[in-house]
Amino acid sequence: MSKISTEDQVQKMLSIIYQIPIGLVETDLDGNIVEMNAKSIQLLMPLFFSNKLPPTNLHQLLEILAPEIRSMVKSFIPQNGNVINQLRLEFPLNGNEGTKTLSYVFSIDKLGENSLMYIFNDITEFYQKEKLLDQVSQEKAIEQNKFEIASGVLHDVGNAVVGFASYITQIKRTMENNDIATLENLKGFVEKNQASLSNALGEKKSMAITELLGGVIINQKDNLDYVKKCMADQVNIIGHVQEILNIQRQYVKGRHTERATINIRSVINDAVAMLSGALEKNNIVFNFDSPANLPQIKGDRTKLMQVFLNLLKNASESILNRGDKIDLKEISVSVSADSDKIIVSIKDNGSGFDQKTGASLFNRGYTTKSEGTGLGLANCKSIIESHHGEITLASEGVDRGALVTIFFNL
């Protein structure tokens, strides 16, 4: 380094050193700090402080934070050379907001007989982002896996349902071959011969036989009606199951398809059909208001389906969270359109959220659910945006419901 001669040069050097966004520290072989730049103080002072060490010897600090580095430096024999190159280390820091884990990357060069250069940086933020990305790709793999399992299950359940339906049809046919007609013939025969029977058995007994036959016939008819009604219910339920399976199959099949023409109303209808069981079970009233002839949009039906399923699930979970505080549990979806956009609003009277939570809801990795991944709404947002749309989420506050509004620009 040339000798710094003028004040101008000193100031230039200073601003360079100050702007170098990497910590640089030179120590002697015992770790006593000889020179250090501003960034290194910014990064090291909190560590010295939280470990209650004077900020004069780096080795004392590393002895606590990263003993492996200390031993690598100690066992480095040559006069000069690279001791450690870009080693990532993790250690705890007790700051104002509790303990957090820091990730630092360290390089160490031996510059001479009694000089070590430590070059390091705080990569906590990068490392966290990388971890989150990893998690997202893992989620995707799980999603793929889920699809494969789902299509397998759909296939098997579909087959089972077909078998079940044909079995019920058989039972129905068997039921039609009953003995009620024969019993009625017998009753007619007994009534015709009432007089002779009375002579033979006495009037009371012959009347009793007629009444008994009448009673048996009524019982048989009642039972048959009841069984028929149950059968009819079964057939309806199977019909519903098959309908849901068909919808599901369509989405499993259609997940690689290109953008097609889509009717938003029918997508929402499908989503509601899939959730209708859960809504009914939890006594949630569902209102749907949509004009019959909506303009169609181009898009990915499967992905939009995911969005509406997700939003409706969120709405009903939020209502259930609020629990018995609500008299009427209600989700209202309304769709409207004008010349340049379709507007979908989904309103619930569930637990809502405060402003601070609202600001983070669309962030990847943010969740208020104990078992959530924080990917649901973030994914919804990117799917809607890929359909030239916008999604907003509003609430007047905790326990005051929430309103999701989606615009699809035509």
Partner: protein, 119 residues
């Protein structure tokens, strides 16, 4: 007037740059955003940064990035502040142990005072 004088903020508010220059400890006067409006001679001697290179700049990132952490810069997020702590400056690259006094008043000014420590 010493580094430890209680309620020094009011005195600093009302004194001229000339008076502050003659103090035996460093004084940096900033607004609540951290923009430097006064950088006294002792502070300049401690850090090596000339007054004219400090005025108008953001203290915690441009003038003294060594303070940009929870121990110093983040303390100024509080509404009121008067705290002394041991810290480290660099004169170019020479470590210089200092005591810092962080002061934030309610009239739009905040101060960082620095006094060289022996050792």
């Amino acid at each position: 007037m010493t580094f430890n004088t209680p309620a020094i903020g009011e005195w600093l508010d009302s004194n001229s740059e000339e008076n502050l220059d003659s103090l035996p400890f460093g004084v940096v006067k900033m607004d609540y955003h951290g923009i430097v409006s006064l950088y006294n001679q002792t502070q300049s001697d401690l850090s090596g940064v000339l007054k004219e290179n400090a005025i108008g700049k953001h203290f915690f990132t441009q003038v003294a990035p060594c303070t940009n952490n929870f121990m110093v810069s983040e303390k100024y997020h509080k509404e009121q502040l008067d705290e002394i702590l041991p810290y480290m400056f660099t004169y170019i690259t020479k470590p210089t142990p200092v005591d810092l006094r962080l002061i934030k008043g309610s009239n739009g000014n905040q101060y960082l005072l620095a006094q060289k420590r022996a050792g």
